[in-house]
């Protein structure tokens, strides 16, 4: 029986629920006796110069071993500016000079024998600044917004201005989305040991290879001198995908002290350690005929970027030309330099932000025309990718609409706002389309089979907590032809075959493709040994005629002529046999098809019209992401994605004091992620498709799981109340 497609429980689940799984902050690298602790002192101004650092009290405090500032920090080599997913994302070299670019930037690091001593000493460091007036938000700097000349101009379809001029109806609206922080449960943790031979780094990261290459570059090492390990992750959502200062300053501390140093950022520091989802203003104009068929989409965005970052920020409108078949589409983005940490991807940097305005505007157009919002989207279904003009590699969007609507009961919807009630509550139903580019990264895998018949699959990837260990096991077991109980997965170590980053919804596709190739290569290798082995029942058979089932190899048509893997290895005195697989993604240049995942969100909210409180009471999400490797972990991922979308719609925003560019809600009581009471029953539907252009038909789920949820909720709030809130999140004050 094939393991792929089965709802296998997480293979590491038992370790996690019993506490036996050791996360990075739990892990000293040996017996722990050598371990010391680092705590960062962070800037309390957002722009300016450090004029003095008085560390006398801190140095005199108990247990202090080292105090690092820009005066004594190791000099770092500049990291070449790269694209956002390049090996090193943050180009700021921390502790190199007296400049402060954002509040929360590290200005000193204290190393002490215990965490308590290091924390206390850090609180005694007195830093004086010559503060300058910062740009606090993109609104303060909007007059200086600039085009990013280093960014490829976004695709333009037809002539949007002409399309708007020809439209019978034009919707022209401006939406804002706030800065948000990722807030994985596990904060950033790093432990570094620096010896003459090797630098060993345990770090909570979505990309071990990026940390390796980034540290090697900044400290002038060869990549093979750096080993990076990240076995278990407590979430990331993009925040652990970037190169950021905690790993750099921990490495500095380890080098200076010669000790094994651990640094765990506090929750408050998480608001400046990893970057954030950018703040954006999105003006959308939709032109349509009376029947709802779009004649034009024009989207003009302004997003913030940091004051020090010299790599092109990502372009939130990049997917705007994808969902609908408009003949004329244009999308632009300008940037404002703000004294904030550099924006980084957060559970789709593109679709998760830029489609909020498109999906909200589509709902406004539907209301304006008196057309059902779902019907409006059907009428604008794109038979080909409007952006590239290419055919879809596969597209289950219409079936997502149909099955999602049926499960939800969408046809029962009364189109009139404020028409549906449940006692004192107004009931609203809203929906949205979701799309997400389906890609993968170059990935290598190794599968090794032992003489006991047990096998291991190794990939230098990471498991964010989403199930990578489990799907690797399933795919490799099928490819080799053994039960999942005989296959074990290893990941999260740069000593393993190279894997890509766990971001961009790429992990499942990349890991599955490489694991399958390696497993199949190993199977073929053992079959070749067997057919050439006089002692084997398979001797002389054509390799193509040998089948494998449950670890048993036999000749097609004669199940009695066969033997088990273990027997072959033992007879040939082989301790183990291994094989590798290399997945190379199809190049984006010269593509003949457009590869996307699709989805549709249907949601119900209940609004207390007097008090302004909104509760999501039901949510149905239908997703076409090719073939689902594991419906159990996949469903879990969709639930998490919808919860994150509820936060984006209703509760989450990073608040900045516009006088000094400092975050004022840097805590879990101030920054509201949804709690259990905010989360309704969530129904995930998988519309499965074979995709001949994608290995294993795996499109990835991580981001499509949350894209579409926030605009669907905002649309439902409008349907409930008749009030359109165009500034997320929709907190009670905005509905009073």
């Amino acid at each position: 029986m094939s393991a792929v497609g089965q709802p296998l429980a997480r293979v590491e689940g038992r370790l996690k629920v019993t506490g036996a799984a050791r996360y990075t902050a739990d892990l000293p690298q040996d017996d722990g006796k050598d371990l010391v602790h680092a705590v960062a002192v962070c800037a309390t101004v957002a722009k300016g110069r450090i004029t003095s650092i008085d560390a006398r009290q801190a140095r005199a405090a108990g247990g202090v071993l080292e105090l690092i500032t820009h005066r004594n920090a190791p000099r770092l080599r500049p990291v070449p500016a790269q694209e956002v997913f390049g090996p090193a994302h943050e180009t700021l070299l921390v502790l190199q000079d007296d400049r402060v670019h954002y509040s929360g930037q590290p200005v000193a690091v204290v190393v002490a024998d215990t965490l308590e001593n290091a924390t206390h000493a850090a609180s005694l460091v007195r830093v004086e600044y010559a503060a300058e007036r910062p740009v606090a938000t993109l609104f303060e700097g909007i007059d200086d917004a600039f085009d990013s000349p280093r960014h490829a101009p976004p695709a333009t379809v037809g002539d949007a201005d002409r399309g708007l001029a020809e439209a019978a109806v034009v919707i022209d609206r401006t939406y804002t989305t706030p800065a948000q922080h990722h807030h994985p449960m596990e904060t950033m943790a790093t432990t570094v040991r620096w010896t003459a031979e090797e630098v060993t780094v345990h770090v909570s990261t979505q990309t071990i290879s990026m940390i390796r290459d980034g540290l090697a570059t900044t400290f002038g090492l060869r990549p093979e001198q750096v080993r990076v390990v990240s076995e278990f992750l407590g979430g990331g959502f993009g925040g652990k995908g970037a190169w950021c200062w905690p790993s750099v300053v921990t490495a500095m501390a380890a080098r200076l002290t010669g000790r094994q140093v651990r640094l765990v950022t506090t929750r408050r520091q998480m608001f400046a350690a990893t970057g954030q989802r950018p703040h954006s203003v999105q003006r959308v104009r939709l032109g349509a005929r009376r029947d709802g068929v779009l004649t034009a989409i024009a989207q003009d965005c302004v997003g913030d970027t940091s004051a020090f970052y010299d790599t092109p920020p990502f372009f939130i409108g990049a997917a705007t030309p994808v969902p609908y078949a408009a003949p004329n589409i244009r999308t632009t983005q300008r940037f404002v330099r703000v004294n904030c940490q550099t924006p980084v991807p957060m559970r789709s940097p593109v679709e998760g932000v830029g489609l909020v305005s498109i999906e909200s505007a589509m709902d406004e157009l539907a209301a304006e025309l008196g057309v059902d919002p779902l019907e409006l989207r059907r009428r604008n279904y794109a038979e080909r990718d409007p952006n590239s003009g290419l055919p879809w590699s596969s597209n289950g969007l219409l079936e997502c609409y149909e099955r999602g609507a049926r499960r939800f009961g969408w046809p029962e919807r009364n189109p009139k706002p404020r028409s549906m009630r449940d006692g004192r509550y107004l009931v609203g139903w809203g929906m949205a389309t979701a799309v997400r580019h389906a890609g993968s990264d170059p990935t290598s895998a190794l599968v090794r089979l032992g003489a006991d018949g047990r096998a291991v699959v190794q990939i230098g990837s990471q498991d964010l907590g989403t199930g990578t260990f489990t799907i690797m096991t399933q795919v490799a077991a099928d490819a080799l032809g053994v039960p999942v109980a005989m296959m074990r997965a290893e990941l999260g170590d740069t000593d393993l075959p190279n894997g890509g980053g766990s971001f961009g919804s790429h992990t499942a596709a990349s890991v599955a493709a490489a694991a399958r190739l390696a497993g199949e290569a190993l199977r073929a290798k053992v079959i070749r040994i067997a057919v050439a082995d006089d002692g084997s029942p398979l001797s002389g058979a054509s390799p193509d005629d040998v089948l494998v089932d449950d670890g048993y190899l036999f000749v097609r048509g004669d199940r009695s002529r066969g033997e088990r893997y273990a027997q072959i290895l033992r007879r040939n005195r082989l301790q183990a046999v291994d094989a590798t697989g290399e997945h190379t993604p199809p190049p984006r240049e010269g593509a003949t098809v457009a590869r996307w995942a699709f989805g549709a969100d249907f949601t119900e909210v209940k609004v207390d019209p007097e008090l302004g409180t909104v509760r999501v009471t039901r949510h149905v999400k239908a997703i076409e992401a090719g073939r689902i490797i594991n419906p159990r972990t996949a469903r879990s991922q969709v639930i998490g994605g919808v919860v994150m979308g509820i936060g984006q719609a209703l509760t989450e925003a990073t608040e900045v004091d516009r006088r000094d560019a400092r975050i004022t809600n840097a805590s879990f009581w101030g920054y509201h992620v949804p709690v259990n009471a905010d989360v309704p029953d969530i129904d995930a539907i998988f519309v499965e498709r074979d995709d001949p252009h994608i290995p294993g038909s795996v499109k990835g789920l991580g981001e499509i799981a949350t894209i579409g949820t926030a605009p669907a909720i905002a649309n439902a709030v409008f349907h409930a109340t008749g009030k359109r809130v165009r500034d997320l999140p929709i907190t009670p004050d905005k509905l009073l």
Binding site: H120, E655, R662, T664, A677, D678, P732
Partner: protein
């Protein structure tokens, strides 16, 4: 974190003797609040005196009312509290998650510090935390801050839900200090900031809350707590309302209306009580009480919504105690 010593005490007398003479000593019970404050540096305690072993855990219900020990556990589950003082049980349930409720104590809850952003992040200016340093909230992100009772020096909001309910029940804190025992109405326990926001309560240093008395009343049984917040649970109030009414023959003879999330202490809405008293409880009187409750508000740039929210919350809470 700042090093501190830790001792336990077994009698109220020795507790007071240990803390009173030492300005850097601080009581701790459930530690759901004090430990955070010590860690983050809002309070500079050199010595924590743990009072959890004190015999202050009883809950007694009698004809004269309710006597709640300062360390009583799970008051919200007490059958008499649930039946005769529903506003109290509801406020406790709305006040914290089960995990926090397993640890916290009623006495400590009354003395929790404001959740004003500028107080909680020690790198901001805050007159309450550091006298004379300024107030970041006045012109800053003051969406959560006070619309009543603030001053030019501080517009912090007291975060306790329990204190709001107790204020609506005319409850009194019993204390033991170096100068002896006294009783302080909950409504008067917290000072308004005026020019000295750092003087947060009327308690002397070392004065320990030993219990809370809730007098028997004709309005306690018909009471309700409503809390409006940014998410469904585990968030501090934007606005909360405790109402208690004595309605006889269709007319409100007596009532209490107290507000949370809007002032540096639980805020008695006396104008609303006056507007309601003598009236039948109906939509018109509820609306009028709401209007009266919001009168005199001094909103700031980001919290103007609280004025309308108070009006509606009071009316809504009253509708919950209507027949």
């Amino acid at each position: 974190m700042r090093p501190f010593s830790y001792t336990t005490v077994s009698s109220v007398r020795s507790a007071v003797l240990q803390v009173s003479p030492d300005p850097k000593a601080q009581y701790v019970a459930g530690a759901t609040e004090v430990l955070n404050l010590v860690r983050e540096g809002q309070i500079a305690a050199d010595r924590l005196v743990d009072i959890r072993a004190l015999p202050l855990t009883s809950i007694r219900a009698g004809a004269d009312g309710l006597h709640i020990g300062a360390l009583a556990r799970h008051v919200e589950n007490h059958p008499v509290v649930r039946r005769d003082y529903p506003v109290l049980a509801q406020a406790l349930l709305a006040g914290a998650s089960p995990q926090v409720r397993n640890m916290f104590t009623p006495g400590g809850n009354l003395l929790q510090r404001t959740r004003c952003s500028y107080y909680r992040d020690v790198s901001f200016a805050c007159n309450r935390r550091e006298p004379g340093s300024g107030c970041g909230a006045l012109e800053g992100n003051n969406r959560y801050n006070a619309i009543f009772g603030g001053s030019d020096h501080c517009i912090a909001v007291h975060p306790s839900d329990l204190a709001v309910a107790l204020t609506a029940l005319d409850a009194v804190a019993r204390t033991q200090g170096p100068a002896g025992a006294r009783a302080i109405p909950i409504e008067e326990l917290h000072r308004l900031p005026g020019e000295e926001p750092h003087r947060e309560t009327v308690l002397e240093h070392g004065e320990l809350i030993t219990g809370i008395d809730v007098p028997a009343s004709r309005f306690a049984a018909r009471s309700h707590y409503l809390k409006i917040r940014d998410r469904a649970s585990f968030a501090f109030a934007l606005v909360s309302v405790a109402v208690a009414v004595d309605v006889r023959r269709g007319v409100v003879r007596d009532c209490r209306i107290a507000l949370g999330g809007v002032a540096p202490r639980p805020w008695r809405a006396r104008a609303a009580e006056a507007a309601l008293t003598g009236k039948p409880l109906n939509e018109a009187s509820r609306r009028a009480a709401g209007k009266a409750a919001a009168s005199g508000a001094v909103p700031r740039r980001h919290n103007r919504f609280k004025v309308a929210m108070v009006e509606r919350a009071v009316a809504r809470a009253l509708s919950e105690v209507e027949d």
